[in-house]
Symmetry: C2
Subunit: 150 residues, 2 copies
DNA sequence: ATGCAACTTCAAGTCCACTTGAAGTAAAGC
DNA sequence: GCTTTACTTCAAGTGGACTTGAAGTTGCAT
């Protein structure tokens, strides 16, 4: 198979590490686009590899496909995205990414403090107990809660 | 309401920032336990607040409820967890947490490199293109893929 | 020209983590 | 005692992100 300019779903799937069904699914959601051959088969420009990588990356930061599409739709209809477009999108995601990293780092620190203390069994873990007395009005150990599971 | 030794589902839910339905769900999965009143209502010891916090924390690192239960079940039947038990569990999670943080940090670095380069539109982003020529055998920009969305 | 893998659509199915609803019971305040 | 709010169970529903299956079509290699 001569490497042609365009990729079939199968090829794209292989390159991106996803199933073809996922690619069709993304397409149905408008996240990616394809051209069609005379026989109605999909053909993707190579740039779609990057696009899919970006989608997967965004997912791993905790964005839903809807949010991703939303962010991408900043790019005006049928226009090739400019540096500015992409910069707007990526810096938005960058913020989410930072939040997420910070949350996980805080969690890690808490966990480190905890590893030796037997929290689960005991009365006196400062970390998990923090605020337990103070907040009688529905608070709980917020510092471990918040940032719901992605 | 005098703060008694035990909490109702409602109280626990308020303290933990989850819905009562979630708590019943966790209980049905064996993640938490309760005593019952004469009238069959649940009563939780205060320590369950911590337990739920731990569950939520573990979720946010990307563990499924099954994995969490699995990890927790290291603790022998009906025994109060010892420091050693908890230490085993938490250091296991700590590893996952580290992986996750590392992955996100790498992603952040890539993104930073990218913000100015107009990747999406262009031919020549070293980051997203890396390996595009080399790996003709189903590779793709792995450094952005792997670590599936949590 | 033919065979077979890879493609097509569309509907339905799956998994996870819950949430909702219905019908009934318990507990706390007045 | 009565009312209201919080609880009980159980079955079914939801949403996100896909996956699977069936039935049919295309495209490349020999």
């Amino acid at each position: 198979m001569a490497q042609s300019e365009f990729l079939t779903v199968g090829q794209l799937a292989a390159r991106c590490g996803v199933r073809t069904s996922a690619l069709r699914f993304y397409e149905s959601k408008g996240l990616i686009e394809s051209m069609r051959t005379g026989g109605n088969q999909r053909r993707y420009p190579r740039s779609t590899i990057r696009l899919v990588a970006v989608i997967r990356a965004a997912q791993s930061v905790g964005l839903s496909l809807d949010e991703i599409q939303d962010a991408m739709s900043v790019i005006p209809e049928g226009r090739t995205p400019t540096k500015k477009d992409w910069s707007r999108i990526s810096s938005r995601w960058r913020a989410r990414l930072d939040e997420r990293i910070q949350f996980l780092e805080r969690l890690r620190d808490d966990l480190d403090q905890c590893i030796g203390c037997g929290c689960l069994s005991l009365q006196s873990c400062n970390l998990l107990n923090r605020g337990d007395k103070a907040a009688e009005r529905g608070a709980g150990p917020r510092h471990l809660i918040e940032g719901k599971p992605s």
